[in-house]
Each structure stands twice: as structure tokens, then as C-alpha cells.
């Protein structure tokens, strides 16, 4: 399996272009290429495979967002960059759960990662968590209406048919009410 993974390691520019083009296969090759490296880092530094998954996906998302936002400059190898992000995230996590002994066992070279990158990411994570629980509290059918309209860009016409509203005005009123409640639920949270 290892060999297979190595053979399919994508070049760094393939990954960047793939993300920009929403290529599923590029994402998959990126993910499978470097996961073992991160797994090795985490499980040999007081973590388990679930921690590795969390940290690695977080790092992939940081990379993904940076590429999508157009402010990603590849100043080192992508591999080194991902390892450094994961290392930084894992150190932070270890400190939070008081499992950091002041010493980390490294397997790759790494770069100093700017706090900004990781902190910005966690700020957004907090917002997303709030949104998630607000949506959960909102309940059906509001949740689906919100998701369909604002996330999946479905038209009001579609939504009418799906939920069996007799006319578009009713649907609009319903959507408006749902949105007001969602905002309230979102901003109520601390």
C-alpha cells in the first residue's frame, strides 16, 4: 500500500491546480499521499489515529482555504508545509489537554508557522460550530429550507415544490421566519 501511495504522490502544482478546479481526484491523491506522515507524527507523540485524522483534515482545510482565497504562496515543499501545520496544530492541542511534555519527536523537517494562519482558522471554526448548533436547534423544515436556499443555491420554485407550498409567497414568508430564527439562535450563543 505504501508503495502504491508513493507512486501516486501528486506534484505540488498538481495539487494547487486541482484544488482551484475542485478536482476530486487531486484532493484524494493529496490526502492519501501525506496522511501516513502525519499519522506517524501524532501516534508517536501521545496521540491516536483519530487525533491524526482531526489534525490532518484541519491542515488540509487550512491549505484548501488558502489556495481558494488565492493567497497561498508555495515557498517550500507542500509536504513540509503540511507537516509544519500539523505539528503546530498538534502542539497547540497537546498544550490544551496538558499532555505536552515539552518535547516532540519529529520525523520531517519543518518550517516555523505563523500564528496567524492557525488562529484565523480556529476563529472561523468557532463561527462554524455556532452555525452548526444554530441549524440543529432550528429544526425541520427550516433547516432544510435554509440549507437549500443559502447553501445549495436552490430557487424558491424548487423549494415550493419540495415542501408542497401552494404559492411562492407562503414559501417566502416561511423562509423569512426561518432566517430570523436562525439569526436569533446564532447570535444568542456565546
Amino acid at each position: 500500500m505504501n508503495k502504491h501511495l508513493k507512486d501516486s504522490t501528486p506534484t505540488d502544482s498538481e495539487v494547487i491546480l486541482g484544488i482551484l478546479n475542485n478536482s476530486e481526484s487531486a484532493l484524494k491523491r493529496l490526502y492519501t499521499a501525506y496522511f501516513p506522515m502525519v499519522l506517524q507524527l501524532i501516534i508517536n507523540n501521545n496521540g491516536n489515529e483519530d487525533d491524526a485524522k482531526d489534525i490532518y483534515q484541519e491542515a488540509i482545510i487550512v491549505l484548501y482555504n488558502k489556495v481558494k482565497a488565492g493567497d497561498f504562496e508555495l515557498s517550500s515543499k507542500l509536504k513540509t508545509y503540511l507537516y509544519s501545520i500539523c505539528r503546530r496544530l498538534w502542539l497547540k492541542r497537546l498544550t490544551q489537554i496538558n499532555r505536552y511534555g515539552g518535547d516532540i519527536r519529529d520525523f520531517q523537517e519543518f518550517l516555523p508557522i505563523e500564528e496567524e494562519d492557525v488562529d484565523q482558522h480556529s476563529d472561523r471554526d468557532i463561527q462554524f460550530n455556532k452555525m452548526e448548533s444554530a441549524l440543529r436547534l432550528l429544526g425541520e423544515p427550516c433547516k432544510t429550507i435554509m440549507e437549500d436556499f443559502y447553501i445549495h443555491n436552490r430557487s424558491m420554485q424548487d423549494i415550493c415544490e419540495r415542501f408542497g407550498y401552494t404559492n411562492a409567497d407562503n414559501a417566502k414568508t416561511q423562509k423569512y421566519k426561518c432566517l430570523q430564527r436562525l439569526k436569533k439562535l446564532f447570535f444568542q450563543q456565546k
Partner: protein, 367 residues
Amino acid sequence: MSDNQLLEVIERYLNGEMKADERKKFEVLRKENAEVDGKVVEHKLFTNLLKQYGERVELETRLNAIHDEIDVHTLKENLMVHPVWIVQLWRNHHSKISVAASVAIFGVLVSLWSTGKLNTGDNTNIVELKNKVDRLDKSNTNLSRSINAIKSEKGKSTVVDKYSATATGFAITADGLIATNYHVVDGANAVSVQNADGESYKAEVLYTEPQHDIAILKIIDKSFTGLKTVPYTFKRAESNIAEQISTYGYPDGFPAYSPGSLSSLVGQNGDSVHYKVTIPINPGNSGGPLWDSKGNVIGITDAKQSQIEGEHFAIKIRYLLNAIKNIPADSLDNKVLLNKKNTLAGLSEAQKTEKTKNFVFMVKVYN
């Protein structure tokens, strides 16, 4: 306009669904009405967040799907760094090991205590030390007793025995210059020399070269009338190894002849000032002449440095000759004239000794 309708307008505005003139009108309203403007901004931020949230959820779903295809368990087995067995043993059992070690140490202490080893060890040492101190004390008393004895003896025999050390010296010239070792006369208050007939003459230390352990004495006694012509010569050139040699001196206050051989042209650790000689001599021989078989003086016997039995050193005569040249002119009455004619060649050892014995002196040192 109800809130519901306003929201619809805002959404159309944000989605770019308005016609140009309607858009202008709405933008004027936004400028004039801060409340409307605030709602536009808030709605934009919130829906963007909702949108991004949706994208994040979708991305996570994709990543999870990819992740599920990976055989994490096998990877983990391969990538885990397994510590060496002793570290593993320690990690898994360190509490038990610690307890076992504590019990063991405690047990040892208890058994030591119960057998009395802990207490008696010190006592025997103290007893031994005390014995040692007692012994030292005793020997000290003995010493002071013998010192007292010596003192009282000295008090009795002031006339007979006043000098504190004896050694040997030999004539350089007929007018009373005598060569000996520096260490013989070092620190002496007075010096005298005594010939084979037992006649003593007062002497003074004329010149010394401590670095070569050489001292030159001069007989200053009024009763001294000079010697006969010195029968031997001084051989400046280096002698040959394995040459038969001899010395004559006063090893224990009485004259003695000792034959031997020249075992090395260098002294200790390659020192070129000395010859190494194999000859049976004692400290009293210090300062005596070292003759080769032809009767040339080739060195000054220096018994001081002997460490191996029968092995001694002699200062090469070259250094004595240099020392003689170095004597300050104003401390000499006459120029030093060394004998150039050897009258000993061809004689037997006994004959040679007979002819030279009056030129070898016992040096007596008074402190």
C-alpha cells in the same frame, strides 16, 4: 415596507437581480437610511457565513470519504516507533520495579542494622586508628629519648667528634686546591680536610657550581706547606664505555679502594653531565676522584643519586676543568696550573693507589 419585503429587496440587491434604475434608488435609500444599510451588511455577512459553513461541511464529507478508504490500522502498525524492550519494560512496569527496588533497599538496610554491621564498622576503624596513634606516640617517645641520648653523648665528647658529615675530595694542584661535590659542603659553617696520615687542615670553600654539583676548596691552614707534585692528569676528552675505572675515598671515615666499570656515557634520563658507573660506593665516597685504568681522572664520584644498588653517577671531569677556569681571578693567589704529566701509567692498581692516596682527602664538614 415590511421586514419581510425589505429582506426580499435586499436579497435581490445582493444577488444583482435589480435593474439599473431600481438599484440606484436602493443605493440612495441605503445612504439615507442607516438602518437599511446595517441590515444589508448584516445579511451579507450572515449569508456568506452560512454559505461557507455549507462548503466546509461538504469538504469535510469529502475528506471523510477519502479517509475511510485508507487502511489506518495497518499504517499505524508500520509507523509506530517501537522503543527498545528495556524502555518498554520500564514504561509498562515502572511502578512495580520501583516498589521492588524500595523493598530490596529496605531489606538490605534492615538486615545490616539487625546484624549490627551498621554500627560496628565505624568502631573497628576507630580502634585501629587509636592503635596507630598509640604506636606513633610510642615511637615519638623513643625518638625523643634517643635524641636526648645523642645530645648527652655530644656534650661528653666535644673534643673528639665535632664534624657532622664526611666525604671525599682530591687535590687539583699542589698548592692546596681540592675538588669535591657541592652537596657535601652545602650549608657548612666550616670545612677541613684530612690526609691519609690523619693530618687535618682547615679549608675554605673557594668556588662552587651548584648546577654541576661541584665545589672547589682551598686549604688555608698555616701548618699546610704544600703537596708534592700531583701524579695524575685530568682527561678532558670523553672516556670509553666499558672502561675499567676505580675510585679511592673515605666511604665511612676510613680509606677504601673500589674498582668498577664505566657503564654509560650518559646519566639519568640521558643527562650528559654524568657518567653512569657500576661501582660499589657509599655516600662518603662523594667528591672522590674517578680514575680510568691509566690513572687519568675522568670524573668526580657522586654517590648521592644512587637508586639501584651498585649503580652510581660521576660528574664528567670536563665540568670540573670548566669550573676551575670560572674561578674569579681575585680569589686566587696564583694562576691554577694543572699537572700535565701523568706518572701513573703502567703501574698496577696497588702501586697507583699507594702513589695517589696522599692526594685524596677526607672532607670534614661542620654545621
